[in-house]
């Protein structure tokens, strides 16, 4: 069989970084081809070259064996190449339906709103999600945005569909839905290029696998030729042990105690205690209100009712600054919007919440000390970058996440709230993060971990709190839970069947 799209010996250099080094890849119709690689291995860069966002420095692209050059996205779409990007790219002021059909230059110059809504509804139905197609995209959660992105790509007549970590912010239910669709498309002869850091998923969906390391292709093969161990070895370049290093420890005093916490219309009746050295997992479907609880605890969207006791004292947290001073740190789920100042170098991002610590006698920033801290974290978390002076915006997704983690760990918090801490992080880094969470808990930190990655929640938590539609469904201890129990709680009745 002929490949639909072939990439021949493509290289791409960003000043200082060789993002892609002489890479070749073939995509065949009717296959799901997965790209694996550590953060910064060059996966997204390759995709951006396939969609005309970046131009390769050298090398060529062949469509049906004919060389093509893709100058921009419109051209890529013309060739039948569509992509779902790692970071959702929605138009907040347009409504959902418009967002879905934004790339349809062939729908004519005049908008037919009726048709638009009908078609958008149909596509969303196929995806199995309920979203009001007329509501503006502003304010959609990350997951909802991701859904819109998927719908957008599906709406195009594509021969090559690229999905750059589409599942990173989806929970199991949505992922299953997405995979059903993906297989459908594959069976219709679409070539699918899939990227994910969740290895279980990868083996579930892939036909073939290609592994990148440091901008080079390391191996390509049929999925069943790979085992998880081999995949990891190819990605990381060395053997790695299993994922979750959970060490059980004796929990200490209660650090955080929440009673009847509520914010009108968002969540209500949240009650739990969190002890030092304990990891409390927050599970639930996307949109179940977990992030909102975190935001309430961190003072960004203070609650309307209920009590928060921190280290035994009743507190009323009204601003992030106050929360930080109390010793609460929050790693947000949307790192682009909330986590990082993209043009800032890594070092300034890390020191931002703790800048006051780096002030010298005459009131100026002590750059040396600031840099020393940043370098420490860069080494400890293995942040891949040219230096700590690299702007955060130029890092790969996973490395950005590590910067956000560094920034909050540096506040030396007593309570660490992690919202999807491993979203978009590669296996190596993921296990590092897990080890770190474990370490921190050992050192007596209280950790609240929100995650949509069920194995992660199960593997890392001492106890798991499950939420559904803004209500707390129960707290389960590590010993008594399984994926099924949690899913049932998270989805209510229908999931049980």
């Amino acid at each position: 069989m002929e490949p639909v799209l072939a990439i021949r010996r493509v290289s791409k250099r960003f000043d200082g970084t060789q993002a892609l080094d002489d890479v070749s890849l073939e995509l065949y119709p009717g296959e799901v081809h997965t790209l694996l690689g550590e953060n910064g291995a060059g996966k997204s860069t390759l995709i951006k070259i396939m969609t005309g966002i970046h131009q390769p420095d050298t090398g060529e692209l062949l469509l049906d064996d004919k060389p093509i050059s893709i100058a921009n996205s419109a051209q890529a779409q013309h060739y039948g190449i569509a992509a779902i990007y790692q970071e959702p790219m929605v138009f907040p002021d347009l409504n959902v339906a418009e967002n879905i059909f934004i790339s349809h230059q062939n729908r004519g110059a005049i908008m037919r709103w009726g048709n638009l809504y009908r078609d958008a509804d149909a596509i969303l139905k196929r995806l199995g999600v309920t979203l009001d197609v007329r509501s503006p995209a502003r304010g959609l959660t990350l997951a909802a945005q991701q859904t819109v992105e998927i719908a957008k790509a599906l709406s195009l007549k594509t021969r090559v569909l690229i999905m750059d970590e589409p599942t990173a912010s989806l929970s199991a239910h949505e992922v299953a839905q997405l995979f059903k669709l993906t297989r459908n498309l594959r069976d219709q002869g679409v070539a699918i290029l899939f990227i994910s850091h969740r290895l279980e998923e990868v083996f579930e969906i892939s036909d073939r696998i290609t592994i990148f390391r440091d901008g080079k292709r390391i191996s390509t093969g049929l999925a069943h030729e790979y085992t998880i161990e081999r995949a990891i070895r190819d990605m990381v370049g060395r053997e790695m042990e299993s994922f979750f290093h959970k060490t059980l420890s004796q929990p200490g005093d209660v650090v955080l105690s929440v009673r009847g916490l509520a914010r009108q219309g968002v969540f209500e009746g949240v009650n739990f205690d969190l002890r030092a050295g304990e990891v409390l997992g927050f599970a639930g479907l996307v949109g179940s209100g977990r992030t909102d609880v975190a935001l309430a605890l961190f003072g960004i969207a203070p609650p309307d009712a209920g009590e928060i006791y921190f280290q035994g004292k009743r507190v009323n947290i009204t601003s992030p600054e106050m929360a930080t001073q109390l010793g609460i740190a929050y790693v947000p789920e949307d790192r682009r919007q909330h986590g990082l100042v993209m043009p800032f170098p890594i070092v300034s991002n890390i020191s931002l919440p703790t800048l006051r610590r780096y002030i010298n006698r005459i009131g100026l920033i002590d750059f040396d000390r600031e840099r020393r801290t940043a370098n420490e974290f860069r080494n400890r978390l293995k942040i891949r970058s040219e230096s700590i002076a690299t702007p955060a915006g130029k890092l790969s997704g996973g490395n950005q996440q590590k910067v956000v983690l560094s920034k909050w760990l540096n506040t030396r918090p007593k309570l660490l709230i992690l919202d999807e801490p491993t979203r978009g992080i590669d296996v190596g880094a993921k296990s590092e993060v897990h080890a770190m969470i474990n370490d921190l808990a050992q050192q007596g930190l209280a950790i609240l971990m929100i995650s949509s990655d069920l194995p992660e929640v199960l593997g890392m938590s001492d106890r798991i709190l499950v939420m559904r539609e803004g209500r707390q469904m129960g707290i389960f201890s590590r010993a008594e839970t399984t994926q099924e129990v949690i899913m049932t709680a998270a989805m209510g009745q229908e999931a049980a069947s």
């Binding site: 992030p320 986590g339 100042v341 002030i359 920033i365």
Partner: protein, 333 residues
């Protein structure tokens, strides 16, 4: 080497080159340019604008804008003059005028930082409103005849051959540069300008920073208003009318992004030197005001356009070079 090239690519370097160009041009054009008095005049004639440009730099880097500065200048001057006219001691009047500037800034800041309205809208209203207060103060009158010591501040040197305005500018510029580039506050200013949300999540007191900036902007504008009163020796309702555009132009030419988050005070300093030199040179050879404005308009556009083209050419050359290298390699096999 790479570093040197990167240094060359900086906006400031380009500005510096343009600056040297204007100086050389002026020397060639007019013998009067090198007259030492001329250098003092050059600053003195725009001193109020360039003082306000310093706080404007902070505000724009912070992602906001303050269009009301010129009106605050006028308002403060008029308040002082009116108070003097009704018999309040000038010293008291000066303090009240400065306080009125701070208050106006705080008022702007309240709507922007606390209520969250766009600063463009708020300060556009301020532009109209504060000018209105200036008008109410003096109506159709002009008030002058201030004590000699006051006028001397605007007209006579206080330090060597430097006037008070120039001394104030130098001090504000140095202090401003240190605050902006070396202090935590300056870092917050950039952070908020780049990504306000992330700054909030990092516990930066965004409201307080914005409030501080607007108050400082109002107060410095009031100070500049008083300086202009001292320099002109008289105050009218239209004092400093329309200065806001010149001030914003200086800051933007200095490489400060109107969208916030980037720019340096050094760049703004260079832009100020360029504009003042250019205007001075043209004035000395009797090029009229309209043409001067036109030339500065062209310069403003070119200063962005040329580096853009430069970068495009550079990328193209690099790609060509890689291509040919690739071809050569291919040939070997």
């Amino acid at each position: 080497m790479q570093r040197a090239i990167n240094g060359l690519k900086r906006w400031e370097t380009l500005l510096f080159i343009i600056f040297i160009g204007t100086v050389l041009n002026n020397v060639a054009q007019s013998p009067a340019y090198l007259n030492p008095n001329n250098f003092i005049n050059l600053f003195q004639l725009s001193i109020e604008k360039i003082i306000v440009a310093i706080t404007m730099t902070f505000i724009i880097i912070n992602g906001e804008i303050d269009l009301s500065v010129a009106s605050i200048m006028g308002m403060a001057a008029c308040i002082m003059a009116r108070l003097y006219d009704v018999g309040v001691p000038l010293e008291t009047g000066i303090v009240i005028a400065l306080a009125s500037g701070a208050l106006a800034g705080a008022f702007n800041g309240f709507w922007v930082a606390v209520v969250g309205l766009p600063s463009l809208a708020v300060t556009l209203a301020g532009l109209v409103g504060y000018r209105g207060i200036a008008r109410i103060m003096l109506e159709d009158r002009s008030i002058g005849g201030f004590p000699g010591w006051f006028n001397a501040f605007g007209q006579q040197p206080v330090l060597g051959s430097l006037t008070l305005g120039i001394v104030v500018f130098i001090i504000l510029f140095l202090v401003g540069a240190i605050i902006l580039h070396r202090s935590a506050f300056g870092r917050y200013v950039y952070a908020i300008g780049s990504n306000k949300e992330a700054a909030i999540y990092a516990g930066v007191r965004v409201q307080r920073v914005k409030m501080t900036l607007f108050i400082a902007s109002g107060m410095v504008a009031a100070l500049a208003g008083l300086l202009i009163a001292a320099r002109f020796g008289a105050v009218r309702g239209n004092t400093a009318d329309g200065f806001e555009l010149d001030i914003v132009t200086m800051v933007l030419l200095g490489g400060v992004s109107i969208f916030g988050g980037s720019g340096t005070l050094v760049g703004v300093g260079l832009a100020i030197l360029i504009i003042l030199n250019l205007r001075n040179g043209m004035s000395l050879i009797n090029i009229t005001g309209n043409t001067q404005t036109l030339v500065i308009g062209v310069l403003l556009i070119l200063s962005v356009l040329i580096p853009n083209w430069g970068r495009a050419v550079q990328t193209w050359i690099m790609r060509q070079r890689l291509r040919s290298a690739e071809l050569a390699k291919g040939g070997e096999r």
